[in-house]
């Protein structure tokens, strides 16, 4: 289908629906694929992503699990070793702490430990992030931990096209892929082609080209960062927005090339500042882009507090467009 035909058939849908479509496609096209996790079946998924899939594909392929994160993620790893292509949904990154051992010590290591004899083609999806007033135990953004682990690939769809396309790319990858879906994105609406193009999971994307400053971000912070870029545009600052897309391995080149053009950087990351992914990006720019910089890289991250319930406190704890704007403008004091 050519581009014209494609655009004729564009339709509006949500990020949630885009993922559901991707799941449906995967289940339809490959008998080795199955979906498993807590409440993915009868309940329809804790964020309603998999609604309807049980009826469509049956119990064998859309599997409700007991509350046993370690066992069912580990079982996904085992099933992948056994020739299947499991998609395991861990409701949220918060609960993934109960199975992080399986992901780090099994999924990520088995290929290496076995001297290359076995690969682990599992896809693990999880919701991440704050913003829904779910308080300290339900608001983590710990994808940076997965992005620290050799053997894993970590991707964070921030657009409809990526929500639609990354799952297929992840399934095509012979190694474990963690997909983090920000909770504030599920209701995001947009347009997609009827038969969307494949996406890669190797490269960052420039979501808004600009000359004056590079705003690096990913996932749930992308909309905030784009909003900040618009505000900056009104103030004569032309911001380039880089969406990392893949958190491991990082697409350093795209970042560094942007830095070479703009010479100024703000990193926006919903993780707690200390030890967040933003730190790694700042370090990479330090190492490979130091002489390109006109000013030190700034970071806009979450405050270092367990995320509080109260709305105003939660909002104050998370990165907001105003802070991004202020940080970017601050870069023009020096330089």
């Amino acid at each position: 289908m050519n581009a014209a035909a494609r655009s004729e058939t564009r339709r509006t849908l949500t990020y949630r629906e885009a993922i559901r479509e991707a799941l449906r496609e995967a289940l339809s096209n490959d008998p080795r694929v199955f979906l498993m996790g807590e409440d993915v079946g009868r309940y329809g998924g804790c964020y309603a992503v998999s609604k309807g899939l049980l009826a469509e594909f049956g119990e064998a392929r859309v599997r409700d699990t007991p509350l046993s994160e370690s066992a069912f993620v580990g079982a996904g790893i085992g099933a992948a070793l056994g020739g299947m292509r499991p998609i395991v949904e861990v409701m949220t990154v918060n609960f993934s702490l109960l199975c992080i051992d399986q992901i780090v010590n099994n999924a990520a290591t088995i290929r290496h430990m076995s001297g290359g004899q076995f690969s682990v083609p599992i896809v693990i999806r999880m919701a991440t992030g704050a913003g829904r007033q779910l308080a300290a135990q339900h608001s983590h953004s710990l994808e940076n931990w997965y992005a620290h682990v050799p053997g894993l690939r970590v991707v964070a769809p921030a657009t409809l096209a990526d929500a639609r396309g990354m799952l297929g790319a992840a399934l095509a990858d012979p190694d474990p892929v963690v997909i983090v879906e920000h909770v504030m994105l599920y209701n995001m609406q947009g347009e997609l082609d009827a038969e969307p193009a494949a996406v890669d999971i190797d490269h960052a994307a420039i979501r808004r080209p600009g000359r004056d400053v590079t705003l690096v971000t990913y996932g749930g912070s992308l909309p905030k960062t784009l909003a900040a870029a618009e505000t900056l545009a009104n103030q004569e600052i032309d911001a380039e927005v880089v969406d990392l897309r893949t958190l491991r391995p990082l697409d350093e080149s795209t970042i560094l090339e942007s830095v070479q053009r703009t010479r100024r950087v703000v990193i926006v990351d919903e993780g707690w500042r200390s030890g967040s992914l933003s730190a790694e990006i700042a370090a990479r720019i330090m190492e490979h882009g130091f002489y390109d910089l006109d000013a030190p890289v700034k970071r806009v991250c979450s405050a270092e507090v367990p995320i509080p319930y109260a709305q105003h406190l939660e909002a104050a704890a998370l990165p907001q467009p105003e802070q991004i704007v202020a940080a970017a403008k601050g870069l023009f004091g020096h330089g």
């Binding site: 339900h138 270092e304 367990p306």
Partner: protein, 328 residues
């Protein structure tokens, strides 16, 4: 017409009824306030299960400790945390029992030894074991009551905690509220052995199944278990057969169960059956009920007013209470 049911005085029976109604009406108000966006985040209602919190708390003393889940308003109220500060917490106000940091899922109260409101399924069981270990090491002869849903039984922490409590003979009272569903997952879809008390027994732990819709049965079983724990210091396990009348949280479309099933269970509801029984035995007159309802209504109105009048904690205090000693 007798004035007692199985050793219960009229006064006591009315107290139990009032305890349950306080929870029921409080939560009905919460649901309203949620629609009005006064309360946000996740809200898990306890409606249908009130007999358990009401009955168990009567069996505990102030020295005892309580640990609960995200579905803990009932436990908080029955334990005696002032309704006003619970409501203010749900509003996210500085006057809330946790200064708005915790919200609905994280009610804590030092005065009543209420150690939360925990939102990780089974995550509080190890805490309860540890609290009980502290009591044992301090020779305090206090019980730690640990509430959780049947969904928690599949988690590894359930297993590890029961074993540790039984192995070390710690004074934990495990209280499993088996409402048959974990979100949308029916018990038979999550457990190869659906008889939870039997599972508990496999740890060499005395365990029994109780009708969780019968507040008197709950109270009696809890009292006996507490007494047994105080006697030998070892753990006990009670499974309560119950049902949640409302959706799991405010986001649940309830695709996984029949309306008819819910209606059937509602007929067995802890309040409706207790009211019927009390009326039948003459312990409760219509006027009593009206006066309890009125009293509860006043308390709720006052709690809402307190919450409404509450203040928002200044943003400058955002980093407060991350650490006990202020960081440099």
């Amino acid at each position: 017409m007798s004035t007692k049911i199985a050793g219960t005085t009229r006064e006591h029976a009315l107290e139990l009824l009032r305890d349950m109604l306080r929870i029921r009406r409080f939560e009905e108000k919460c649901a309203e306030l949620y629609s009005a966006t006064k309360i946000r985040g996740f809200l898990h209602l306890y409606i249908g299960q009130e007999a358990i919190a009401a009955g168990v708390m009567r069996a505990l003393e102030p020295r005892d400790a309580v640990v609960a889940t995200y579905r803990e308003h009932g436990h908080a109220l029955a334990r005696g945390i002032p309704m006003a500060t619970v409501m203010a917490e749900m509003y996210g106000k500085a006057e809330g029992c946790c200064r708005g940091r915790g919200g609905s899922m994280h009610i804590f109260d030092a005065a009543t030894r209420f150690y939360g409101g925990n939102a990780i399924v089974a995550g509080a069981l190890p805490l309860a074991v540890g609290l009980a270990l502290a009591e044992k090491l301090r020779s305090r002869n206090a019980v730690t009551a640990c509430f959780f849903g049947e969904g928690a039984v599949a988690e590894g922490e359930f297993h590890e905690s029961l074993n540790l409590a039984a192995l070390w003979k710690l004074p934990v009272l495990f209280l499993c509220e088996n409402n048959l569903y974990a979100m949308g997952t029916a018990l038979a879809r999550s457990e190869s052995e659906t008889h939870i008390a039997r599972k508990a027994q496999s740890y060499n732990l005395p365990a029994a199944t109780i009708d969780g819709m019968d507040v008197l049965a709950v109270e009696a079983a809890a009292a006996a278990a507490v007494e047994a724990i105080r006697g030998d210091g070892g753990p006990r396990f009670l499974e309560f057969a119950t049902y949640r009348f409302r959706p799991h949280s405010m986001f649940d479309a309830e695709l996984y169960r029949d309306k008819a099933e819910v209606e059937e269970w509602k007929k067995r509801g802890p309040i409706v059956t207790f009211v019927a029984k009390l009326k039948e035995t003459g312990l409760l007159r219509d006027a009593d009920l009206a006066s309890i309802e009125a009293e509860v209504e006043r308390e709720i109105a006052a709690a809402v007013e307190f919450a409404e009048n509450g203040t928002w904690e200044p943003l400058g205090d955002l980093s407060r209470d991350v650490y006990t000693r202020e960081m440099a």
